[in-house]
């Protein structure tokens, strides 16, 4: 297996590429575009997944929801005491939260309730609890809103307060006390934070009920055990651990980029055909060239090797170019347009920075999807060229 790399052949191959300017340019252009698209999609999914994974890390370790008739239902607040008694549980908090549909703008706000002197299950809520007083003073209540929420409210001329419509049709006026910042944009954009009592009033939730219960476990290794114990005490609950969320995120994004790739196969195939066609159609000049080469003593193997170098150089060059462009597009320009496929359309769409993740595996993946396919498309045309008869072409 001593395939010594012949520098002169490489030089010849580069010159051959440069000689056929328009043809090479066309191939590089299309190839770069394809790898660029593909790499960008993978980069975007990787970044979003990273962002979500770090969001999941800030989420509670275990969430306990009550399920009734297959649907999510309010859970008894008393359950907190029973869960706290399980060994290994360091904290359990009953959460009151929900989605409020603001018909005027056609968006959903996530309304989250906190209590001032309770252990907060999120760091960002700690800041809010210490900074703002959300309890009821003189029958006036206030809330803290995320950036996106504030802008939406402003557009509807709610500048200092907001009127929530209660289930019985009456209004509940809540003052906007301030705007809150979280570690990631993803978790704060559509969020409204207010006291639990206010939320109970807006959504008409009974004092003894809560939306769900979050559980903190001191030792992460014990989470599966704690989950099974809770399940034993409350068989009617659905218990979600942060590990489950991570797995399902990976599934969702693998699925999304998988679908994209499946559609992409068609363009890859088209590309394959075009390349095949391009490299089969030889001009008489090229034929003469091969004829002369063979006449001066090139073997079939040499011509094949030269053609291989040619296709490898051109495809690898286009691949690097495409990957380079997509680095710039995704991480410097934050992937305009393409990002929407993955983030989704909504008025309160979270606008976030795509964090820079260098993933070697993505580069390999794109490499395997581009360079070998190009080379494969040139095998048969190169062979046809290489086995041309010298006397036939020169004559």
């Amino acid at each position: 297996m001593k395939n010594k790399i012949n520098v002169y052949l490489i030089e010849y191959a580069i010159n051959a590429i440069l000689r056929q300017k328009s043809k090479s340019f066309f191939i590089v252009f299309v190839f770069t575009l394809l790898t660029f698209l593909l790499t960008s999609v993978f980069f975007i999914t990787n970044s979003i997944r990273y962002e979500l994974d770090s969001t999941v890390d800030t989420l509670p370790q275990i969430i306990v929801q009550k399920i009734k008739a297959g649907r999510h239902y309010d859970i008894d607040v008393d359950a907190v005491d029973n869960i706290l008694e399980i060994a290994g549980v360091s904290d359990a908090v009953a959460r009151v939260w929900g989605y409020y549909y603001f018909a005027n703008a056609g968006v959903n706000f996530s309304v989250v309730g906190i209590e001032q002197y309770e252990n907060q299950y999120k760091n960002s809520f700690d800041k809010i609890a210490s900074k703002f007083d959300l309890s009821e003073i003189d029958s006036k209540v206030s809330m803290v809103v995320g950036h996106g929420v504030k802008e939406t409210m402003h557009d509807s001329y709610y500048k200092e307060y907001f009127n929530f419509i209660k289930p019985d049709g009456t209004l509940k006026r809540v003052n906007i006390a301030g705007v809150f910042e979280a570690d990631t944009q993803l978790e704060s954009n559509d969020v409204i934070v207010m006291s639990k009592d206010t939320i109970r009033e807006i959504f008409d939730i009974d004092e003894s009920k809560a939306t769900d219960i979050v559980v903190k476990v001191a030792n992460p290794e014990e989470i599966p055990m704690v989950v099974s114990k809770i399940k034993l005490i409350y068989p009617d609950t659905r218990i979600i651990s942060s590990e489950d969320l991570k797995v399902s995120y990976q599934n969702i994004f693998d699925y999304k980029s998988g679908i994209f790739l499946a559609l992409f196969i068609i363009s890859l195939f088209t590309f394959f055909i075009i390349i095949y066609d391009k490299s089969s159609g030889l001009s008489s000049e090229e034929k003469r060239e091969i004829g002369i080469l063979k006449a001066i003593g090139w073997r079939v193997d040499d011509v094949l090797k030269e053609k291989f170098y040619e296709s490898f150089i051109i495809s690898f060059f286009a691949y690097t170019l495409g990957v380079g462009f997509s680095f710039a597009y995704v991480y410097i320009f934050q992937a305009p347009i393409l990002q929407n496929i993955f983030v989704g359309y909504s008025q309160l769409k979270t606008s976030f920075e795509l964090p820079f993740i260098f993933d070697l595996q993505t580069l390999f993946l794109v490499f395997f999807l581009s360079v070998p396919i190009y080379i494969a498309a040139t095998i048969i045309p190169s062979w046809k060229v290489a086995t041309l008869e010298a006397d036939e072409v020169i004559r």
């Binding site: 297996m1 001593k2 395939n3 993978f42 797995v247 990976q250 599934n251 693998d254 699925y255 980029s257 998988g258 790739l261 499946a262 196969i265 890859l268 079939v300 193997d301 094949l304 595996q361 390999f364 993946l365 395997f368 999807l369 070998p372 396919i373 080379i375 494969a376 095998i379 048969i380 190169s382 062979w383 290489a386 086995t387």
Partner: protein
């Protein structure tokens, strides 16, 4: 069914391999049946041309196959995040009944394809191409193995059930497991180490005696003895854990991807060792093959032996 981008990429490449493989197979059969170097007929002339195409296709498949094999292991490692219970590629391989066979088939095919290439290179050096018939005959056999590998791979990926619990490598590679693998733990570690180093001593001996058949055979045995000793003994020192025997985990970043180096050394060393016995070569080539084989096997033994020694120096005890 599991359809991550990585799996799709592998399947796409497999489709291309299958397409070209079939072309090469048809041409190989034709060449194998009708090759006659002394003939001056038109058909022999065409066959000679076609042999170039076949060789190019096989070279292409091999060149892509080797990095793709590494990518395959990489992919299995990634899928293991999704499967409940799996911590590394071992869990994914074990998730379906096909996994183990696919893995063995893949390794076997790489050896066969590499062997084919060596034979081919030797063949085209001679004017009268003495091995042409044999090499295309070998490819006809290799083709069936190769196609069954592609089919098995497709079946394996489609039968992985994400919701099913699979075993972690910690339980698969332990003496309490009931699989065939666990029986190797019954071997006494001392005996195993004698066999391993003894085997290596034989390789050195035959290297100096230049006994090519014995050298090749001892290399063949070396593949088995080194993998078994890697699982039973050396692996525990890589992990610095007496209970962990997995041959896949050290391919991950936690162990600085050392597994890729280990397996590459073993493959190159034993492969060239086998070549000395199976391919008739010119004198200088044989010596070169001996040297390459010896060097890589030697590096392999040094690398693995260093793990326990360094561990002993650091901690003052054996595991």
């Amino acid at each position: 069914m599991i359809l991550t981008p990585e799996v799709l990429a592998i399947l796409i490449l497999n489709a291309i391999f299958a397409f070209f493989g079939i072309i090469a197979f048809v041409l190989s059969v034709r060449i194998f049946l009708a090759w006659d170097l002394n003939s001056v007929s038109q058909s022999q002339y065409i066959l000679e041309k076609q042999s170039f195409l076949t060789a190019t296709i096989i070279k292409y498949i091999f060149v892509i196959k080797v990095p793709l094999f590494l990518f395959f292991i990489f992919t299995l490692d990634k899928i293991s995040n999704v499967l409940t219970g799996a911590m590394c590629a071992a869990g994914v391989v074990d998730a379906t009944v096909y996994g183990t066979y696919l893995f063995m088939l893949k390794i076997l095919n790489i050896y066969i394809f590499a062997y084919w290439l060596v034979l081919h290179n030797e063949d085209i050096k001679h004017e009268n191409q003495p091995y042409t018939k044999i090499k295309f005959g070998i490819f006809i056999v290799a083709f069936f193995l190769f196609i069954s590998e592609l089919i098995l791979e497709g079946i394996m990926f489609s039968s992985i059930d994400i919701d099913k619990m699979v075993s972690c490598c910690g339980t698969l590679y332990s003496s309490s497991a009931t699989s065939a693998i666990s029986s190797i733990f019954a071997i006494d570690t001392d005996v195993l180490l004698y066999v391993f180093y003894g085997n290596f001593a034989f390789i050195i001996l035959f290297y100096f005696l230049k006994q090519k058949y014995l050298f090749a055979i001892s290399n063949l045995v070396f593949i088995i003895s080194s993998i078994v000793s890697l699982i039973v003994f050396f692996g525990t020192y890589i992990y610095e854990l007496p209970t962990h025997h997995c041959p896949f985990c050290f391919l991950q970043s936690d162990y600085y991807y050392v597994g890729y180096l280990i397996y590459a050394l073993l493959f190159i060393g034993t492969f060239y060792g086998l070549v000395t016995g199976f391919v008739k070569n010119s004198k200088e080539n044989i010596i070169k093959n001996y040297k390459i084989s010896m060097l890589f096997n030697f590096l392999y033994v040094i690398l693995l032996s260093l793990y326990p020694i360094v561990f002993y120096i650091k901690n003052g005890v054996w595991l």
